[in-house]
Symmetry: C2
């Protein structure tokens, strides 16, 4: 299953395309951070972000979109722009007939690190390991978008851990999990 | 000048097209309230609203869009949906090359009634008179959208009042203003 993960934002919008296969294997197809300068008016900023999102949807043709859920009680200085971006992305998904799922930051952290209160560095570390990347995705918005896509790929199931891990991907998960625990 | 006024909302989105002419004359070309049921998921609701907005933009070809400004400290139960709708409408305007202006409720009330703290009934009353309508636009979202369009048509100038009123539209304004004052 191919998934576009989105960490919505008006200044920086993280976008990651992940393909999930058998045995919870996940690979990265693309990662970008769409940006817009605060010197522009909001409509022009939304269009800049929407252009990148729509280009990725049309290029990679994901089967689903997963996005971070926004709360009305979040940081009020950025909440309006984030909500507006999320609306634009929801419409783009809907008009392509793609199901869109929302995940809280805690759900995403729990899915990729096993700890709903994990820090940004731990999320980035696990995303890098799980996707078998040579370098950590930067900035954090990019790693977050990939984490959201992985969370969606894995929803509804427990992560394979311990001696049951038999595939290379599962071993990588287990090792990374242990390493993360040592660091955490 | 032809203006689309928007009172954004996910459950009800007021939309009014107003044409402004010489001597502050304003006429109504169209008014609608786009709705979406709360039983649908947000992406589908946004698409229902966006379809109506885009149809009106394409049918009436306004030269500008005027929308109510949303504040992060508004009612939290509806603020997210309202912000998402506003983002979708901003993108639709931007992609058609239309300038979009935002007005606070106080600015709109002051423009059409002379009182920034006027009630909904007074706004509806003045909108009905100013546009020379036989019936008051209902629901309030429809009247609000028309009031926002009128506010944009008149921005940057004082309303003609008193003995200086010479055109039929100006006389109508003056009479309506007096009537509103008597009622207020």
């Amino acid at each position: 299953m191919r998934i576009l993960g989105v960490d919505p934002g008006l200044t920086r919008c993280g976008l990651g395309v992940v393909e999930s296969g058998a045995a919870r294997r996940v690979t990265m197809l693309d990662v970008r951070v769409a940006t817009s300068p605060s010197t522009l008016e909001t409509p022009a900023r939304l269009a800049q972000i929407a252009d990148v999102v729509e280009a990725m949807l049309d290029e990679h043709r994901p089967e689903a979109v997963a996005m971070e859920r926004i709360f009305a009680r979040s940081d009020v200085s950025t909440i309006m722009g984030t909500a507006q971006v999320s609306g634009v992305i929801m419409l783009a998904a809907e008009r392509r007939g793609l199901p869109l799922s929302l995940y809280t930051p805690s759900e995403v952290k729990a899915a990729v690190t096993g700890d709903g209160r994990a820090g940004k560095e731990q999320v980035t570390f696990m995303v890098t390991r799980l996707l078998g990347l040579a370098q950590a995705p930067r900035p954090a918005d990019a790693a977050d978008a990939l984490a959201i896509a992985i969370a969606h790929a894995w929803r509804g199931g427990a992560a394979p851990v311990g001696s049951a891990a038999t595939t290379p991907a599962q071993r990588r998960w287990t090792e990374a999990e242990k390493a993360a625990r040592r660091r955490g």
